[in-house]
């Protein structure tokens, strides 16, 4: 399955505890250092897809100040899907790190240039 960044972040937001809609939005914003601010329409598109794939499930419903609040939790297959994606990303990260190290090694052997590699 092709996992988009919002899907990945939403799954990650549910690892430690079940959360409701806006709780996921806040957690995703925290996880991404404020870079990803899910709109409500986008969030529910992501949740629909994750629920259809069986990666998240309804945990419980509550009524808060007269409003319906649904909490979602990560399922076992959601956890496995997230682990697979993390492994894939880790591989990419490792390759990038190795190449950067190799480049730094190559750069440091050259005469330094003003304003060169930071």
């Amino acid at each position: 399955m092709n996992m988009t960044e919002p899907m990945f972040l939403a799954l990650t937001a549910l690892v430690d505890e079940p959360r409701h809609g806006y709780g996921i939005v806040q957690e995703v914003e925290r996880l991404s250092d404020g870079k990803v601010q899910l709109k409500i329409g986008t969030l529910y598109g992501v949740l629909d897809r994750l629920a259809a794939e069986g990666l998240v499930a309804l945990d419980r419903e509550e009524v808060q100040s007269g409003r319906l609040r649904r909490y979602y939790r990560l399922t076992d297959s959601g956890e496995r899907a997230l682990q697979t994606e993390v492994a894939r990303l880790s591989g990419t990260l490792q390759t990038a790190t190795e190449r950067l190290s190799a480049r730094r090694g190559a750069v440091s052997t050259r005469p330094s240039v003003a304003g060169g590699a930071a």
């Binding site: 409500i40 259809a52 794939e53 409003r67």
Partner: protein, 346 residues
């Protein structure tokens, strides 16, 4: 209910009723949580980005992809297939007119006598060739599963067509008639289908290199038809021409092909997405076949031409209704989640 809540619930009406029954309350809860502390006096409205996200969700829930309920998934597959057929039609048309345009530029012999190669003609011809190549490339990109370039090229092709039609309407107002508007509709519909149906939840497209050449093949077949049947038809009496010609132009051949394909699919009980895709494809052809431009016109064979075109439009309309009905009837036979995760439902 606060003013902001009222406004947000109004925005949510873009979503299908069945979806709202399931999700509206929690979406309102999440939205109002995000807008904590807003008072009616502030006269706040949902932001454009929130509205756009609901619009995107509305498109995804109606034109479904992976994990969508059966009805939405079939609609999605049908719209995706229609986008492929529609872009294919424009690509075939482009290859077909490319030969004529190249001849018009005098790059190929024989140059038809009716073609003028004034400077202005050069410009127009070059524009037409470029436009045609854009459609051919857009279809090829879709066939190769390169969705982003396909969308960019298709939008470029549509924008170029709108621009040339607008310029020509300003220079020669009489050229802006029903047929131009119908062709604009026929050009825009597959592009809209491409933009809306190939969203992030759409099933992955299987890239097919041979498919990229399909429009060229269709154009070659059409040219073969034109060269063999054309001269014989041209020698017919004018009265007969009126009955024959509407079956021989590209739209006429497409009409005949759609009628045959539609009847075959109805008798073979084809899958509902294919039935629905052909029903959608009938709409632009109906628009292009309605003979508004000829009604009341005088001349040999014009009456026959008008009657034939009207009959084609009517036949297509009947077929579209029959196809839609058959598709709807076939839907309940589907399981909870339709189909394998395949690309084009061919």
């Amino acid at each position: 209910m606060s003013l902001l809540e009222q406004r947000y619930r109004f925005v949510l009406r873009m979503l299908p009723a069945s979806y709202r029954a399931e999700r509206e309350e929690e979406m309102v809860d999440a939205f109002l949580d995000a807008a904590e502390g807003v008072r009616d006096e502030d006269n706040v409205r949902p932001s454009l980005s929130e509205i756009a996200s609901v619009a995107g969700l509305a498109v995804k829930t109606r034109i479904g992809g992976l994990g969508a309920p059966p009805r939405a998934r079939v609609t999605g597959d049908a719209v995706r297939l229609f986008a492929l057929l529609g872009l294919g039609y424009h690509a075939a048309l482009a290859w077909d007119s490319l030969a004529a345009q190249v001849a018009a530029l005098g790059l190929a012999e024989p140059t038809p006598e009716y073609v003028t190669t004034a400077d202005a003609q050069w410009v127009w011809t070059t524009v037409w060739i470029a436009q045609g190549l854009v459609w051919a490339a857009a279809f090829a990109m879709l066939a190769l599963a390169r969705l982003r370039p396909a969308k960019v090229l298709a939008v470029t092709g549509l924008a170029a067509f709108v621009l040339t039609a607008a310029v020509s309407a300003l220079l020669w107002p009489e050229t802006l008639d029903w047929s131009t508007l119908a062709f604009l509709f026929a050009t825009a519909l597959p592009v809209v289908a491409l933009l809306t149906a190939y969203h992030e939840d759409a099933p992955p497209v299987r890239a097919s290199t041979p498919l990229t050449a399909a429009p060229l093949g269709v154009a070659v077949l059409y040219q073969a038809l034109a060269l063999t049947v054309g001269p014989r038809v041209a020698d017919s009496p004018a009265e007969n021409l009126g009955w024959l010609v509407p079956w021989l132009d590209p739209q006429g051949v497409a009409t005949a092909a759609l009628l045959v394909a539609g009847v075959v699919c109805l008798t073979r009980r084809a899958n509902p997405a294919l039935l629905l895709a052909l029903a959608i494809a009938a709409a632009p052809l109906i628009a292009m076949r309605v003979p508004f431009g000829y009604i009341g016109a005088e001349g040999d064979g014009v009456q026959a031409l008008t009657i034939t075109m009207f009959a084609q439009a009517a036949a297509l309309a009947v077929l579209a209704v029959a196809l839609s009905a058959a598709a709807m009837r076939a839907l309940p036979r589907l399981g909870a989640l339709s189909g394998a995760d395949q690309g084009h439902p061919a």
